[in-house]
Amino acid sequence: MPKQIDLLQGTLEMLILKAVSLGPLHGYGVLGRIVQISGDQLIIQQGSLYPALYRLEAAGALATEWAPSENNRRAKFYTLTDLGRRQLTHETDRWREMSRIIAAILRLTAPQAPLQPHPAQEPRA
């Protein structure tokens, strides 16, 4: 089994939006899709998915509808609204920017000599 990592703070909502953007899903389906895409590498506290879903619904990013599930049970399906789509684009851009910056910082290896605002000191006589 590949190594699993905990979800970063604040990224759950973005992942939900991404998962739903691929097609309407119920809550368990959202979870399944995120886990599946990540190749079983992300750990999501399953229950904490729901407050996030309701928060997105309250913000108007998701629309909901009760409909029969794949095994014909009554389930609540979430679809992305226009507002949700814009939010996803916005958050994706932000995430890319953020990870580019962070990656750049992390790429930096220790410099050979400390950075100096002035030319190197002249050797003492």
Binding site: Y28, Q45, Q46, G47, Y50, P51, A58, A59, G60, W66
Partner: protein, 921 residues
């Protein structure tokens, strides 16, 4: 859009709460079942799969809470929980709740009502566009001035004579010739006129106005047209009237067909041309509107009894003049321009006697109506005193709330520590305290609203006499209610939150461990005692003032009026000049006297004017034959005797004893030599060393400027005159039948029949003689006396109510603080008792503490009372403001109440069992 959907969602969650909860449950169940199914396909046993699925999902309740928080419902849930908890707490201590809520309600209600009325009486402006532009013209001069005859009000302000009215011809010249560029308009309240409309005779108040009055007041009638300059142009020809909205509804049921109808006004046919807007009250007063508005040039037809023609003469100054000053206009310039024209006009028509001054004109604020000066003079002081007293009650209620909240907080200190220790956040606890304070204040505010709403109309009704028929409607003042409610709310919040804040800031361990001797608690007890002492001081002030007003009322009620006021029905009648010219009025009254005397159950009928105790005063010259005439002195208006015009039967009907000489008899007629009866005070003052009987005096000039002699034929016992409060003074009684300008009077009927039935019979009699003659101010003599004492009764009732409330609150305060101290000192008391202290010693120790507290409060209260009491000096009767009985009584009452309130905790302290107490903590 986001906010709207969010609100819509919140609203839906609120209204469909049950549906929402079941949806959440369904969704979670679906999730867990789906996961279970998936795990089962991966090879877990069904039981193991279900367990694993639930485990992975986590704490269901906590996630549901997260969902509710996401929907914004958690905040609401907590509020509901807080409210439920607060309600339970308040219900658990009904005494605390009842006292807190009722004191708040009474304070808020009383203040809202009293301040609403005061605001209306003292600060309301006329309902016309831009009332602040209105100015009233007043004539001001040093004494003496060229003004000899005056129908209006005059007063002396800073040594200057101050007249509010001008002679009509001078007003016309001033309006036409002045260079101020301002448009002067005029009005005059002429009081009651007899009006017959829809076959019913009634008395209605009337205001005469100039032709430009409506234009300058900027008032458009709600129906019909205003009075125009053409209506006012020709004297006696402007037989038109606008009626007030109230009169329209009262007499015509608000029918639009009223336009063009004719009214019989004092025998003149007047056509209704319009109806005023409901809020318009004319230029005289803000609260009450005259019923009729007619052209000024109708004054000859409607007003009689003056020695000079009102439209052409300059002897009687009577017209009130007003003007609109546009913003930016210079008042001194306008006053100078008006004075200039005015003085040359006065010089042209009046020749000043030596030393007489010609007045200058000034412009005064007219936005509150002409009668505002009178209102301020008569009611200003009582209203301000009432305001101050009710303000004190508000302060007292605040102190009470503060005290109760502090005591409560210290009791709940331990509870808060427990909740903190169990993990409640500080904000959460503070919110709970806040909710509780708010709930309490809201309850108080709600009842206060009710009291204020009902009280604001009851109060002016108490201030006015019921038979006057003047209904004042005070608009409910939301601003004042908000203020009173806000002040108490703030106090409740402050004293609820402060101890809570202090309690939650400290380490909960300390609160849990803390015992009675902790320093922080002692301090809060001290602040509690300060508040209670303050309460007692305020209560002393309120109780002492109520004692003063109660004693005043008692003193006034015990005054003997000098006549028999029981079984006397009185009413007023006026004979209009048109139907009853000259001596016709006196003849009419003689007919009325005879006809009413024949009604069943009537034992006597008499005519008198002015009537007893109505506030009306008549006096005139009193030149005794053989003595120098009395010189009029401004600083002593009481030097002339008062007079009363009466019928022959007056002394027997009023049951006033004749001391010497004789009363009027059938031999005294309109044509026989004039006679008079004087009272004992007059005999003593004007004939100290001689017998007045047979002496003659001259009173005022008649229309031809001639004075006639009257012979004194008898001396009667002293009676009161215009007011219960005025001491008895000299009065001479003259026969009304030989008064040339007699127009109307009061009829006094003695009968043991019920007043209502008697009134109905008399109405029939009067209607048979003249159906257009309305009876007005129908009341028994007792009602008249009660009306005379209305203000005193109102004050006594209100201050007694305030005093009782103060006593109640003070006793609650003392009880609360002493009970608290005893609880705190249970340990100490136990030790004392264990060491051999007597139970009676413990009891007196607690009582002593209560007594000191009360003494400090009472002493402070008495000091404040003594300092402030001279403010009400003029409102008291028969006692000094520093009345020892009232002050000592108030002090004693408060000390007794404080000791009684302290007795219960003291007794409890003395019953402490040492073992129990020592085990207690």
């Amino acid at each position: 859009m986001s906010l709207r959907t969010r609100l819509a969602l919140l609203l839906r969650s609120l209204t469909h709460r049950r549906q929402l909860e079941s949806d959440i449950n369904d969704e979670i169940r679906f999730h867990i079942e789906a996961r279970t199914a998936d795990l089962a396909t991966q090879g877990h046993s069904p039981h193991e799969a279900a367990r694993q699925a639930r485990l992975e999902f986590g704490a269901t309740e906590s996630h549901k809470d997260g969902i509710r928080a996401a929907l914004g419902l958690r905040w609401l849930d907590e509020l509901v929980a807080d409210l439920r908890y607060s309600t339970r707490l308040l219900r658990k201590s009904p005494g605390f709740t009842a006292i807190a809520v009722s004191s708040l309600a009474l304070a808020i209600g009383a203040n809202t009502a009293i301040f609403s009325v005061a605001n209306e009486m003292l600060y309301a402006r006329l309902a016309v566009p831009r009332p602040r532009e209105l100015r009233l013209v007043a004539a001001v001069s040093p004494d003496p001035s060229v003004i000899h005859g005056n129908w209006g009000s005059n007063s002396t302000i800073n040594g200057q004579e101050h007249h509010d009215s001008i002679a009509y011809p001078i007003y016309r010249q001033l309006a036409e010739n002045n260079r101020s560029g301002l448009d002067l308009f005029a009005f005059k309240d002429i009081g009651g006129v007899n009006v017959t409309a829809s076959n019913q005779a009634q008395s209605a108040s009337a205001q005469l106005v100039s032709g430009n009055f409506y234009k300058d007041m900027q008032i458009t009638p709600q129906l019909g047209r205003p009075i125009l300059p053409s209506d006012d142009a020709v004297p006696g020809q402007g037989t038109v009237a606008l009626i007030s909205d109230a009169f329209w509804h009262r007499t015509f049921g608000g029918s639009p067909s009223v336009l063009g109808r004719t009214l019989n006004v004092d025998g003149h046919l007047i056509t209704i041309i319009g109806v005023n807007p409901p809020s318009f009250t004319g230029a005289q007063a803000v609260q009450i509107s005259p019923a009729l508005f007619m052209p000024l040039s109708m004054v000859r037809e409607l007003v009689s009894g003056f020695r000079d023609d009102l439209l052409t003469g300059t002897d009687i100054w009577w017209v009130n003049i007003a003007v609109r000053m546009p913003p930016g206009a210079s008042q001194p310039t306008a006053e100078a321009a008006l004075t200039n024209t005015f003085q040359s006009s006065v010089r042209a028509s009046i020749t000043p006697k030596a030393g007489e001054h010609i007045p200058t004109l000034i412009l005064e604020d007219g936005s509150r109506g002409l009668s505002y000066i009178w209102t301020q003079l008569q009611l200003g002081k009582p209203i301000h005193i009432l305001l101050a007293l009710s303000g004190l009650v508000l302060l007292l209620a605040c102190a009470n709330i503060a005290n109760l909240m502090l005591a409560r907080a210290s009791v709940r200190h331990r509870e808060m520590s427990v909740r903190l220790a169990l993990g409640a956040s500080r904000g959460r606890i503070l919110r709970q305290v806040l909710t509780e304070s708010l709930l309490l204040s809201a309850l108080g505010g709600l009842f206060g609203l009710l009291i204020g709403y009902l009280g604001r109309n009851a109060l002016p009704r108490l201030m006015h006499t019921s038979f006057d028929g003047n209904d004042i409607n005070v608009p409910f003042n939301w601003l004042i209610f908000a203020f009173a409610a806000g002040v108490t709310l703030l106090t409740g919040l402050l004293f609820g939150i402060l101890p809570g804040w202090r309690a939650t800031r400290e380490d909960p361990n300390r609160g849990l461990k803390e015992t009675a001797i902790s320093a922080s608690r002692r301090r809060s007890a001290w602040s509690g005692k300060g508040i209670v002492a303050f309460q007692i001081a305020l209560s002393t002030l309120l109780v002492a003032s109520s004692a003063l007003f109660l004693r005043t009322l008692v003193n006034l009620n015990h005054i003997n009026p000098g006549f028999n006021p029981d079984n006397l029905l009185t009413f007023n009648l006026n004979a209009p000049e048109k139907q009853y010219p000259g001596a016709g009025a006196a003849a009419l009254f003689q007919r009325l006297e005879d006809a009413i005397a024949g009604a069943p159950g009537v034992s006597g009928v008499a005519v008198l004017t002015p009537s007893f105790l109505t506030g009306g005063t008549w006096n005139g010259d009193f030149d005794i034959e053989g003595q120098a005439p009395i010189q009029f002195k401004k600083d002593d208006p009481g030097q002339f005797p008062n007079l009363m015009n009466v019928g022959r039967t007056f002394f027997s009907v009023a049951e006033i004893p004749i001391i010497r000489g004789r009363a009027f008899g059938p031999q005294d007629t309109a044509t026989s030599p004039s006679v008079a009866v004087v009272n004992q005070s007059l005999a003593r003052k004007f004939f100290p060393n001689s017998d007045p009987i047979g002496r003659r005096f001259k009173d005022d000039e008649d229309k031809n400027h001639v004075k006639h002699f009257r012979t004194i034929i008898g001396i009667c016992a002293d009676t009161l005159y215009n007011s219960v409060r005025e001491p008895v003074g000299p009065i001479h009684f003259d026969l009304y039948v030989d008064q040339k300008d007699f127009r109307g009077a009061t009829l006094m009927v003695r009968s043991t029949r019920p007043p209502d039935a008697l009134t109905a019979d008399i109405r029939q009699v009067v209607r048979r003689i003249d159906p257009d003659l309305p009876m007005t101010s129908i009341r028994t003599q007792r009602q008249q006396i009660d009306a005379n004492l209305q203000q005193e009764r109102l004050f006594a009732a209100l201050t007694a109510g305030f005093g009782l409330l103060a006593l109640l609150l003070a006793s609650v305060g003392v009880y609360g603080i002493m009970a608290y101290t005893v609880t705190q000192r249970t340990n100490e008391i136990g030790i004392r008792l264990a060491l051999g202290a007597q139970r009676s010693q413990v009891r007196s120790m607690v009582l002593r503490e209560a007594a000191w507290l009360a003494l400090a409060g009472v002493a402070a209260g008495l000091a404040i009372t003594l300092a402030l009491v001279r403010l009400v000096k003029s409102m008291l009767y028969g006692l000094q403001p520093r009345d020892p009985a009232s002050l000592a009584g108030a002090a004693l009452l408060l000390l007794t109440i404080a000791l009684l309130a302290g007795w219960i905790p003291a007794a409890r302290a003395s019953r402490v069992e040492p073992i129990e107490a020592l085990r207690h903590e």
